[in-house]
Point group: D2
Amino acid sequence: MDNGIHEECGVFGVYGVPDAARITYYGLHSLQHRGQEGCGIVCLDGGELKCIKGEGLVTEVFDSGKLDSLKGDMAIGHVRYSTTGASCLDNVQPFVFHHKTGDFALAHNGNLVNSAVLRRYLESRGSLFQTSSDSEILAHLIRKDSKESHLPRIEAIKEALNMIEGAFAFLILTENRIYACRDKYGLRPLSLGRLGNGYVVSSETCAIEAVGGEFIRDIEPGEIVCIDHHGLRCNKYSDYCHRFMCAMEYIYFARPDSDIEGCNVHNFRKLSGRYLYEEAPVEADIVVGVPDSSLSAAMGYAEAAGIPNEMGLVKNKYIARTFIQPSQELRENGVMMKLSAVRSIVGGKRVVLIDDSVVRGTTSKRIVKMLRKAGAKEVHLRIASPQLIRPCFYGVDISTVEELFCASRNLEQVRKELGVDSVHFLSKEALYNAGHRSEFCLACFTGDYPTDLYQEELK
Amino acid sequence: MDNGIHEECGVFGVYGVPDAARITYYGLHSLQHRGQEGCGIVCLDGGELKCIKGEGLVTEVFDSGKLDSLKGDMAIGHVRYSTTGASCLDNVQPFVFHHKTGDFALAHNGNLVNSAVLRRYLESRGSLFQTSSDSEILAHLIRKDSKESHLPRIEAIKEALNMIEGAFAFLILTENRIYACRDKYGLRPLSLGRLGNGYVVSSETCAIEAVGGEFIRDIEPGEIVCIDHHGLRCNKYSDYCHRFMCAMEYIYFARPDSDIEGCNVHNFRKLSGRYLYEEAPVEADIVVGVPDSSLSAAMGYAEAAGIPNEMGLVKNKYIARTFIQPSQELRENGVMMKLSAVRSIVGGKRVVLIDDSVVRGTTSKRIVKMLRKAGAKEVHLRIASPQLIRPCFYGVDISTVEELFCASRNLEQVRKELGVDSVHFLSKEALYNAGHRSEFCLACFTGDYPTDLYQEELK
Amino acid sequence: MDNGIHEECGVFGVYGVPDAARITYYGLHSLQHRGQEGCGIVCLDGGELKCIKGEGLVTEVFDSGKLDSLKGDMAIGHVRYSTTGASCLDNVQPFVFHHKTGDFALAHNGNLVNSAVLRRYLESRGSLFQTSSDSEILAHLIRKDSKESHLPRIEAIKEALNMIEGAFAFLILTENRIYACRDKYGLRPLSLGRLGNGYVVSSETCAIEAVGGEFIRDIEPGEIVCIDHHGLRCNKYSDYCHRFMCAMEYIYFARPDSDIEGCNVHNFRKLSGRYLYEEAPVEADIVVGVPDSSLSAAMGYAEAAGIPNEMGLVKNKYIARTFIQPSQELRENGVMMKLSAVRSIVGGKRVVLIDDSVVRGTTSKRIVKMLRKAGAKEVHLRIASPQLIRPCFYGVDISTVEELFCASRNLEQVRKELGVDSVHFLSKEALYNAGHRSEFCLACFTGDYPTDLYQEELK
Amino acid sequence: MDNGIHEECGVFGVYGVPDAARITYYGLHSLQHRGQEGCGIVCLDGGELKCIKGEGLVTEVFDSGKLDSLKGDMAIGHVRYSTTGASCLDNVQPFVFHHKTGDFALAHNGNLVNSAVLRRYLESRGSLFQTSSDSEILAHLIRKDSKESHLPRIEAIKEALNMIEGAFAFLILTENRIYACRDKYGLRPLSLGRLGNGYVVSSETCAIEAVGGEFIRDIEPGEIVCIDHHGLRCNKYSDYCHRFMCAMEYIYFARPDSDIEGCNVHNFRKLSGRYLYEEAPVEADIVVGVPDSSLSAAMGYAEAAGIPNEMGLVKNKYIARTFIQPSQELRENGVMMKLSAVRSIVGGKRVVLIDDSVVRGTTSKRIVKMLRKAGAKEVHLRIASPQLIRPCFYGVDISTVEELFCASRNLEQVRKELGVDSVHFLSKEALYNAGHRSEFCLACFTGDYPTDLYQEELK
């Protein structure tokens, strides 16, 4: 898949487990694929919220000393993809808020669509924002009436959640509980697990497994779960009842060992590959998946087609932020660092190339060229998702429509420009079948946005 | 002087000079003695406020690439002593605030005394705080009425400044101007200079000199100076008219090459040394000042006394944050890293030891011991300030009264416990004379606080 | 595979290509899997050998500024696995030697068996060693007679090469040429390629491809290739003619996109998997390979068996040196960071688990346990290599015989202790077939060492 | 003083004290002024020499973990000024050598004059050098005959010391003792102290004091002291008997709290200042010393002249390697980072400016300009050393003769170009008097080199 698309975040929380910050560190480490640009952990240490955050990977931001300084048995954490738009580290989460009625911290995965409206409203009531992040808005909404009323906090949060529109999984840490909630459309995943005598919540189940926890269930769309010394208390703050899980979670973002709403990601992808074959079979010698996200789909295609699945593209595992990119000149001379095509595997072969999606088309072009240069006789591109033609407003950082390769090209143009012998994009139906479900958010493929978009977001 | 006392901050701002962030970097570097724990720069780059900040020295937080990324001809910066009480980097300044009426950034040196009251008031009006810093309060005050009125901003700022009580030098950067203001008591210094076709403001004049600027004048107590394309516009927001400059600025914090309200710091200290001699002469062979802050006073004493000023104590210049402190055992075996007494200078001599102040007494005791061990026959301690007996509420991080060595001991007890042959503390009168002025804040020496203290601050 | 086995090094050299150090950087980056502990580059810059080396990954040791400081069109580089036994950085290569007859640099992959004898000999002739590395010995041998004779250098090198016994690929950089040579047994790989108007040499062909070069051929066992302004000159320094390539290169070390002596590594592994099935078929539901090194063999097994190849084990890609390892207690509570078993894939399944080798058995045990815990009904272990029972003296850092799990257990004991339902190790014949060759060094599987071992090495 | 002159090194050793590496760390930290570019420690840990070294300050190269890994009660360490000419870290000391007769490590301060001859000789006997450092030569000399004879080691070292010519203080660490030796001319300092039940050796006494040790005596010129379980054994390896201590040690390099051959450095400098006044008195208002090295001399001048010594120049303490230097343009606009002249001190004053030496003249010119710009009415330059006119071959990195400002100008030219009202350089006689001694190496002032220079060194 191209580099032009990114999930924005992952969240992880621990309640009632000793050394919660350390558990959160391991949880975030397993969610690292959801965001590599920044991360943070807030824990409740002696009644006080303590926070450490920074730019970079979990292994870069935290060292043993820092982790040791975060004590207590409640913590939430966050990994973030992008610090774009950030002034300083200000947008790295969790955010901590100080208030006479009690301090609290907040971690958010997703994107709101009515943030501009809400900001204006809140500012007119006295709010002053310190970040450009949507995530700050919820905090102001929760606290906006705290002077006048003695609403139990859960009521304030519910009311606030009903005011925000968009995609989110929120974790809120107060001095005695953790709240976990998902948007009513169910756009972003959030799962609940048991760990020891306590609980964990995580954007993906892989992190629950990684810390030795036991998956309980997904948080429901429109649900808010309150975890405190009473145990779990579950509330719906909305009666809306659809399940518009973002299909890109299955297609690209999530780790293959995660289950999302009852469906394993690897299995989903493998089935996609199978359907790809069924929808567009082609005479070929080998199947080659683009590592790492398309390897499952390639397995599926190869099995269905009965032709060998080969490691025709190899990825360098050591690409790091500090890697010195080859100059344009070197790249033109063939210096290929991230991926390489294997001549002795693809040479003289008719190759079915499996990728998960096409965003700007540049990476696909480059890969096809590499395969040709390495001797591939034919290249048949099979994409395990429909054409990306519309932007996402729910937290997926897809390039603008202008940059979306398929938005302005018909299939033949796509084929020609990518330089392949044939091309096929998976049908929407196949996605539903692969996920064994009848609802999805497919807005980036169709333009059917499950939420109101608020005109100002479209400009 | 002991390690138990610290200034909290320094601020620096540049208006109308190309590469303002770079100039600010050099300015902050010259104010580094006012705070080594964190620093930041915000500049106006293409209409947008860009910010970089971090923990550590200016030379640690900024590298060439980061500095290059901060373009434009307006910037403000901050160095800070302590990140105590900070959740994360949240308390490192400048702070950036986002608001529909315009973004702005703020840098603050000092401490408010009515912050608890104001927080409560602002929270009841909808404010949500993200730091535990006093400095955030001013921002909320400035913006609190912005929905209802179209007051020119200067009016909003003036009104806000009239609500806060305490010590401050504030710099505010908006998208077209810089505001610089000092508290009406004149507790913290702030100076104005010309640089090229623009202006600089700085906590100390040494930084104006360092960047090649020309000192114009000090910002007045109760004054707010607005710098924009019209040039300078000066306003008083208060008619209060005293000049309670913090005496510790002269005694300890400021760089000797700075001038504060018309008086050079080295000259002040040297005169203090002279008065020390006049107040408490003693038969002795040599004068030894504790480096670096007491060297000027030692010069003054020696000249007045007509006995040699010697380098009997030498400071290791390479002490860094990463220095591995000797264990208690090694320290007891005599490992002395920061200071060493010079046997061949003090051996067999009657020494007048000059220090700027006594806080917890521990450093003084250690130095006296070192001198004795190095062979000093007599040690006569002369302190270039009165006894520290009360806490400071204006931004100087003095230990609590319980820890203040002189608060609970008479002069003879002090002498005995420090192990010296005689001791003298400079009189208040001498401070006035050394500064050629009739007003000072001497609260930490006298308990006469120039502001109301608000009961809750005293607990 | 277990963590108990490691290749020691990779070498890369560039002749006659502008910005040779930068090309070497990219080459080493593609050889990073052969050694992550240290690396270095020496280039010929204005007639002088310039060197930068350090501990850590290529992306950690080099930044853009350092790379820019290494100019010229000739360079050699090295990545190294272990700095064990090293005093300081002294064992990080390339080594640079200064001599009146000309400076030279040297990079070495492999291990000598007569180093103790040679050290003694050389010391008795006046040599003084500054490292504990075998690699230094060759340099002393080359220079040992340089005072007396005017042998062309190639003769000195040939003579030296004939004195050393063991496994090696050596690169030597002098002020006008690069020498590349392999041991006469052919134990370690070394390949030659063309790049622009110049040449590259590399431990693996993947790095030649990565820098845009074109593979020419492997350096022959017992061959020394001299590259200078005359082009290539090829010499045999030995008439010995066997090809005892280390089988572990195919089984584990090399990247799947590399070709070694005409055989692609992925293809080798896939064939191994196929033979594994043929040798020991078993009724099962899915095949699961241990990532990353056993994925090719798993593909082969699955294809041959006609059962699905699934991603039942997922590897966290973000494991870094700075990762804070979970405590024993957390590990016992199930915290698994590097690998995780996927419940929804393996649950209730009969699993064929493919791994490349078994060293100490600990990792295998842990993986089997994970699979069981994730619900696998049966686990049939298939190892794509014979039992490891003897130490390697040729540069592979295998644990001692005592630690080799299979050395002291029969097959049934192995099966029982690993906790699997069945186990099979690939036959030696299958290895020959997979590699389409009749010779290999299989010493670690058989104890048949192709070289004399010199008694002192056996202690 | 100008930046054009540098001492090359400092050495420190500990025998028979627990945690010797840690003591060495503190010792090196007190010698840090002798070299900031690199440092290292070798200790004897369980019979094995362990070494850690790196580029940068002691506080940068070592952290607590590294220090903890160096156990044992014998260690030597080194700080080094320059890594010029170094390939990699190869020139950072101590060097470790491996040999059948025993490993040993070596740290060296100084410079040999016959290194080229000795290298040639040793290479003809089979030596192969891995550094471009003189210090490696001694090791080869010591070991050169080790095959033939069973000389006790001390004899081998003595013989080797008699072959080398030049300036040196050497520490040699073997598996049971430390050897400390000085060149027979006495050019470089080396002092011996007692610490607990063991011993310390150090380039300067300040480090002995800093670790709590007790100064015993200086190592004599031509002496080798062997420290082992028998205690101290002292030997002369040469009967030459002069004491040509490098005068620059007193004038500039050494810390003011060090004593060198019985004379305290601060006292030496203060006396120099006094003689400066006596030799060239001038009507003036204030004395200003260039910090830090000229402050003692300024004290002396001021006392003798009876005019005030003022802090007219202030140095920024926070200059670090990572400091981003101001561009040429900014410098021309007056950005002054390292030093600043204090207007309110020097304005309108006749200033006697004291500096320790003039190398290239550039810094002096800049300082004089600064003083003038800050309003100094007259500037009278007094240099506390004679004119530097010849290069040093003994380890002081003075610029070449071409760059030496005074080498090609008479006094009036010097005065004019530096822009001062008068100038005076201290006489050689005054140096002898200040040091209370009749011998010095003044070669850089006179061209009278105490050693043969070997023609090849002069080219």
